[in-house]
């Protein structure tokens, strides 16, 4: 009987560490955020929650903060950024997969931007965007592209794009390295067989290489979309969300409400909305991108 009892306990004992970790890392913080989202709690007024307010904080997210502007910017940043980084990365990966001179040096250099802290990247680009003497401003002016006197970061039409360019510079190499690894994993026999069957150039890429690197690509797109959805560091250093709300992202909005205005209730409600939105978007993506996978 003792052996039977021990056997019955065993699976649960093995599961216990994972369960406790899950509680500590996910369930408790989630519970904490959800519960605070329905309380009025502003650290400027009180160190503890003051009263239950139901869904009032969710209403205030829309009526007292520029949440809609931030959502629009974030979706734009995440969508366009992911696409551009993926395709630019794919282009670099394809070039790397051709045996050109100096490829090994390029591969070594590619990793460098990824190792920089985003804050450092932000400062680097801030200097390059300076209206007077900034390298990128000079470059644009040199090729005849006008730059407003307010500078790239000061103009509503270019502020968000300028943040995106800095992100693309930093993370495209990451895409290139991942996709290059994916391309390397395709055996020469497969490529040779495709060529024998008449596939070359664009057809080889579209019908053979791209489907075979799809698992890597799908993971990259998912991760980068989520990271871009949480874009904060570059916005803080480059524009602080301005001018106006032109480059304000959801993460910056959250920071402003939680750590500058100390309105924990509204910040918690905002967090709940963001988590729901990301979960929804990622699940839709998974449903399409991973439909042929065991999940």
């Amino acid at each position: 009987m003792r052996r039977i009892a021990a056997t019955r306990w065993q699976p649960y004992l093995f599961l216990l560490p994972s369960f406790l970790l899950l509680v500590l890392l996910i369930i408790y913080p989630t519970f904490f955020v959800v519960s605070n989202s329905v309380y009025f709690w502003n650290l400027q007024l009180s160190p503890v929650p003051l009263q239950f307010v139901g869904l009032k904080n969710f209403e205030l997210v829309f009526t007292a903060t520029p949440f809609v502007d931030a959502l629009r910017n974030t979706l734009l940043l995440a969508g366009v950024g992911t696409l551009l980084e993926f395709w630019l990365g794919m282009g670099i990966a394809l070039l790397l997969s051709i045996n050109l001179r100096g490829n090994s040096l390029v591969r070594a250099l590619l990793i460098m931007p990824v190792t920089l802290a985003p804050v450092v990247t932000g400062f680097l680009f801030r200097y390059m965007y300076y209206r007077e003497g900034g390298f990128l401003t000079w470059l644009l002016l040199s090729v005849g592209i006008p730059v407003s006197e307010r500078g790239l970061l000061g103009e509503e039409s270019s502020a968000l794009a300028s943040v995106l360019v800095a992100d693309i510079w930093q993370w495209t190499p990451y895409a290139a390295i991942l996709l290059y690894a994916g391309l390397l994993s395709i055996s020469d026999e497969v490529k040779e067989a495709a060529r024998v069957d008449g596939a070359a150039g664009w057809r080889l890429f579209w019908h053979i290489l791209l489907p075979l690197v799809r698992p890597t690509a799908a993971i990259f797109v998912m991760l980068r979309f989520m990271q871009l959805f949480n874009m904060f560091d570059l916005v803080l250093v480059l524009t602080r969300g301005g001018p106006g709300t032109a480059s304000r992202t959801l993460a910056y909005n959250l920071y402003q409400e939680g750590l500058a205005n100390y309105n924990i209730g509204i910040a918690a409600a905002m967090t709940v909305l963001i988590v729901l939105l990301v979960t929804l978007l990622i699940n839709v993506y998974i449903r399409f991108a991973f439909k042929e996978w065991e999940w």
Binding site: I4, V23, T63, E149, N263
Partner: protein
Amino acid sequence: MSMQSAVSRRQFLKVAAGSAALLGLAGCVAPVAPAGSSAPAAAVDSIRVLVVGDPFQFALEKIVDNFAEQSGVQVNLESLSYDALNARLATSFVSGASDADVVTVDQMWNSQYYDNQWIVALDDYIAADNATNLGDFIPEVLHSLNTWRGHIVTLPIASYAQGVMYRTDVYEALGLAAPPKTAAEAGDWTWDAYLEQIGQLDGQDVNGTTLHGTVVCGAQPVPVVHMYSQLGASYGARWFQQFPEAPWDFTPTINSPENIAGLAAYKQLYDRSPDEAINYVWFDAGTRFSQGDIGAFFWWTPYFYLIKNNGYMTGELSTIVESYDVGMLPHAAGRDPLVSLGGWSLGMPSSTQKKDAAWQFIQWATGTEAQKQMALVPDYNYQFSDFGRRSLYADADLRAIYPYLDVQLELMGQGNGKLVRPPMPIYTSLEAVYGLNINQVLSGGLTPEQGLATTDTLFRNVLQGNFMLPYQFESYNDTLESTQELIARLAG
């Protein structure tokens, strides 16, 4: 062994849920700093002081060892940026952790820190110690920076007013009347006159440089509010129906005709500024003047000395160092002058166990001797004249280095920080909204009317969401007179 020893899935879940709940509860209970008596200063080896990275910090660093020599207490100074300091203090206070023994406090944080009992009132320390010489502090400074609900909650280590800086050579060349240096001479010195002068300066060619009439701060939210609120307040704009006088009524009055006129004037100033000023924070505006292509501008008084450098605290002299002067701030026609007062102060966290040593440091750092020593540090071409004590403005050594002290003292006397930027408990939330909309007005996205109408709506939403509208809590008649009474009472 019976089957009772076997565990069902339900039992397991019960045990696991119980454990999780216990863990959750343990997490909920924030560590509370032990309340207890403070260690006497003599028994304390060192204290930790958190300061903000502002000019005074560099001067304080140079002389802080003098405190150790006098008291035997070593000071560990840690410097943080504005945002980082605020976030760190709030996190530390909420968790109850004793992070520092003395903290730098912005006047806008007084209500939050004191009402939450994160810092202690200094009244008893001051009353028990004549060496503080409370009567030497400028009452307007103490009222603006250091009092909340009838208590002195901090003491000023760096006190700022706002004044005008202008190019003497350009004014002379154009035959413009120099901004007045005393309140008595400033009867005609209105914002209209200032705007007219800026218009005349704009576009002038000086030694091959085309001048911008002025430079403003446009970056949101804090810098633009710091600069614009001065202009708006001069025009008679007030944020609320009634504050700081009792009874408090936080019904917004931000969309008033006075504020619309003020914001329209600020937009005119921006139109005479470099376009990139839309992104300028505090020092960007100041250092732009020292580049030599700005005619005149108004800003915090630390820029009276900071613009001697060719950049922000570079230590290298600017090309305009011999050709600038300072003057009084204009006032709106038909209105009394009103100057924004700001700066930095030192407070004592309630969590510190070294209260006596902390008080000793606060008293020393805000005292006459230390403030004078800070002003005599020659680094960065002398970078401290932000005195909150009246006696220092009469000091011959200091007047020789900082020739504008008379103007600065007059500006301090016209100050009321609580009217210009009302330090009510959720000020920073309102400032974020306000700054965003002023920025959009400058960029041309909104007219002043639209910008302030939006601000008014958002103010109402934020105030109602924070149960400040209607205001149902205790008010305090927070006037300059009540501060003067407090000073008299504590100074004995």
